[in-house]
Assembly symmetry: C2
Homo-oligomer: 142 residues x 2
């Protein structure tokens, strides 16, 4: 796409199909949730699984502790954000999924999209965030 | 820093000074807050201002509406995240600030670090998030 660096970037709302396309199959996203002391954000490796994202984290980590203790097997409200911005062109996009996150059972895990976490060590806590709301914005020069 | 691509990346906790160094002076970060329907995440341009970050958003936007309606001039619990990851090396870092966000008065705005938002249009809602907690992690190959 040709862009004119002399114009000011504008924000454009993206439809759900474009948001899901931008998410791709996998990557790094950020999950936001309330751990009892307010909102917090953790970067995680993810894979798209239908209308949901699946991600893994440490079984001893904050995310797992918070989700497990706050929901006791149910689900907790969470948001999942992915973006890509280019510092030189000042263009880019962001996609936001909002919905409920819940830990995956062993059976669900076997059926889910595979997530390969970058960090070593134990990443055996799997979660799925089902997107009840998908939104996104593109920042580009008209 | 030399890295061995055959080893698995490990996560290392960063101290506050290193976190503030990584934030730099300005850039793009993500603010997470509860807008009344659960956690949400919005990318914003920011500038570091002492132990706080200052960011701007649309005066008609969700962030401003939520913060203003939920706090009525006070502050709301929020998190602010910045990260940088390299897909090929699978190394990177993330920094998280947690604390209270409040809208800046005209006087505070004049004294605050300048934030230049990338998008055009009205970005005249300024906020400051004071970091009560600063944490960060580096993902690197030992």
């Amino acid at each position: 796409m040709a862009s004119n660096s002399s114009t000011t970037p504008v924000l454009e709302e993206l439809d759900r199909a474009e948001c899901m396309r931008l998410l791709g199959e996998r990557g790094i996203g950020r999950v936001a949730f309330d751990d009892g002391e307010g909102p917090t954000v953790i970067p995680v490796n993810y894979a798209v699984d239908g209308d949901a994202v699946v991600f893994r984290t440490s079984a001893s980590g904050r995310l797992r502790r918070s989700l497990l203790t706050s929901v006791a097997g149910g689900e907790v409200r969470a948001a999942f954000e992915v973006d890509r911005f280019d510092e030189s062109s000042r263009e880019g996009w962001s996609v936001l999924l909002r919905g409920g996150a819940h830990p995956l059972s062993d059976e669900e895990r076997e059926a889910a999209a595979h997530v390969e976490p970058w960090p070593g060590g134990d990443r055996e806590a799997w979660f799925r965030l089902s997107a009840r709301e998908v939104s996104g914005r593109r920042l580009h020069r008209p």
